[in-house]
């Protein structure tokens, strides 16, 4: 039982970093970005290729993130400069990334058995740490990313990012180019997603080119679960809510599978869970409106 709980937290936090990325694109920029289905395995592909070459696993994390940033910027440029619709721009990048990921990794699957990862700790560490090494490393990375994102959103540049999804016209009146800000936002978002992919690859010791399928829907579900449940708590930031959202999401999936459903049923569970949260979200906000609560302008 203990093992299952820890595994839920591990998976929840690894994919939680991805959900932070989707929080930026979907919630802040109001951009349904499907390129994440390609940037998640991109992070894994880059990591697999680098690890096979014997590059330091810690170095793989930032390099994967940069690769994700570039892919996100491509989506942004397709949308902003070439005026392609947001949804289509993401799909195009995702489609192209399938080939790119194959090229980078050299094969649709790569196994990394015996390679050292960020979870490879020195033998001299106390046994308590080595026993729980996965969750400790994942927790630290996830928390650092959360605080880094919180910090960024509180800077001047972050303020612009927050206003561009809300009110593009205001950004124009501030003498800033909203297109550039969108591209930056998508780059950061996909950087986080690729970082999450890199971490997932290092945890599972393998790269699978299809691992990105459903990333967008999974992340979106976590964002909506997290925000719906935790928005009432004043002192907690929404980014924390998003991480918890993914943990809850992973717990639901685990519960469904352990109650006898096959792992191939997960996509169906995801969809049902997703629709359920949307309905709950809709219901609670309608109740708020009736009470004359905050208008969601």
């Amino acid at each position: 039982m203990n093992g299952i709980v820890i595994s839920i937290f591990e998976q929840g936090l690894i994919y939680g970093i991805m959900a932070l990325g989707i929080y930026i694109s979907y919630k802040i920029l109001d951009f349904p970005d499907l390129s994440v289905d390609g940037t998640f395995p991109l992070g894994a592909a880059v990591t697999a290729a680098l690890m096979l070459k014997g590059i330091n696993p810690w170095l793989c994390l930032p390099i994967s993130a940069v690769a994700g940033c570039i892919a996100g910027a491509v989506t942004g440029i397709l949308h902003v400069k070439l005026k392609i619709k947001d949804l289509l721009a993401g799909i195009l990048t995702m489609t192209a990334l399938y080939s790119v990921n194959y090229r980078i990794a050299g094969a649709p699957n790569q196994f990394l058995m015996g390679k050292s990862t960020v979870f490879t700790l020195p033998e001299s560490m106390p046994t308590f740490i080595t026993t729980y090494k996965y969750i400790i490393v994942i927790f630290i990375i996830a928390v650092v990313m959360k605080f880094a994102l919180d910090w960024y959103l509180s800077t001047k540049s972050g303020f612009l990012l927050r206003s561009v999804g809300d009110n593009e016209g205001l950004v124009v009146t501030l003498a800033q180019n909203p297109g550039t800000i969108k591209i930056i936002g998508l780059a950061i978002s996909n950087g986080l997603v690729a970082l999450s992919g890199s971490l997932a690859c290092q945890r599972s010791m393998q790269f699978d080119i299809t691992s990105g399928t459903g990333t967008m829907v999974m992340g979106l579900a976590a964002v909506i679960i997290g925000i719906t449940i935790f928005k009432k708590i004043k002192f907690m930031r929404l980014t924390t809510g998003v991480l918890f959202g993914m943990i809850i999401y992973k717990a639901c999936i685990t519960a469904a599978i352990s109650s006898g459903m096959a792992s191939s049923d997960t996509n169906l569970i995801i969809t049902v869970l997703f629709v359920a949260t949307l309905l709950i979200n809709d219901f609670t906000s309608r109740k708020n409106k009736k009470k004359g609560g905050v208008i969601n302008a």
């Binding site: 800077t155 303020f159 612009l160 206003s163 809300d166 009110n167 205001l170």
Partner: protein, 257 residues
């Protein structure tokens, strides 16, 4: 200060709805003028404002601001020197950000939006003093999300934000039209105070003839892409709403409405 020179603009070119709105339209506005623009729907008021702000590019002609030709300059680049308040109160503020956050970004206009702290706590007292002039109590609600403010409050805040970094020219696009009469009067009075206090050159579109009479230093009436009336100084101060209405009616009879 601002000069529109030989402006041509057509809409829906190549369709049955093709309409030539501006043909060789010229307008000059001097520094410090407060121009009210009135006219019926489709007369070209808003198009003129959009040509000044760069949201619409003219088919021909040039736009000059303080002697610089800005015709080809993108709207967001012009915004460094041109501020604007829109008709819709939600267009001027960011609803998911607090009053203090909104004031901070407006205050940073023209400077770099870098990785330093977004909130400008040092200027809090200054923001409070600016908000105090509104008399709406917003100075005590810096932590409130602007999305939860009323339309009148938002529009007043938008006005303060638009003039925080003093612009060369302020464009007001029917900025009181979406407000109830009382709020509209308050926002209009504030507009006059802010404009006078900071000596901002202003172009205001309004459907309220009373405002055109009571406020501003010059009134222009637009009709089918032409300025059919342009009064300032004594000539303007002698005009009443009835004079404006009379001209309106004359135009309408000509059109057969």
């Amino acid at each position: 200060m601002l000069r529109l020179s030989h402006i041509n603009k057509s809409f829906n070119v190549g369709t049955v709805d093709e309409k030539q709105l501006f043909t060789d339209f010229n307008l000059e506005i001097s520094k410090g003028e407060f121009v009210s623009v009135i006219g019926s729907n489709g007369s070209g008021k808003t198009t003129m404002l959009n040509i000044i702000s760069g949201d619409i590019k003219p088919d021909g002609g040039d736009v000059f601001l303080s002697g610089d030709n800005i015709t080809k300059m993108a709207n967001y680049k012009r915004a460094r020197r041109i501020s604007r308040v829109f008709q819709n109160p939600s267009n001027g503020t960011c609803p998911t950000m607090t009053i203090l956050e909104n004031m901070s970004i407006a205050d940073n206009k023209g400077k770099s939006f870098n990785l330093t702290k977004g909130l400008n706590n040092k200027r809090k007292d200054f923001y409070r003093s600016r908000l105090e002039t509104l008399g709406m109590g917003l100075e005590n609600r810096l932590g409130t999300l602007t999305g939860s403010l009323s339309g009148g409050q938002r529009q007043a805040l938008a006005l303060i934000m638009a003039t925080l970094a003093k612009p060369d020219i302020l464009l007001l696009d029917e900025h009181t039209a979406a407000l109830d009469p009382k709020s509209a009067d308050i926002v209009m009075r504030l507009t006059d105070e802010v404009v006078k206090e900071n000596e901002i050159t202003t172009v205001m579109i309004t459907h309220n003839l009373r405002y055109a009479v009571e406020y501003g230093t010059r009134t222009i009436m637009m009709h089918e892409g032409n300025a059919i009336m342009d009064v300032s100084g004594n000539e303007k101060s002698e005009k009443t709403t009835n004079d404006y209405l009379k001209i309106f009616n004359e135009i309408s009879i000509e059109c057969g409405n």
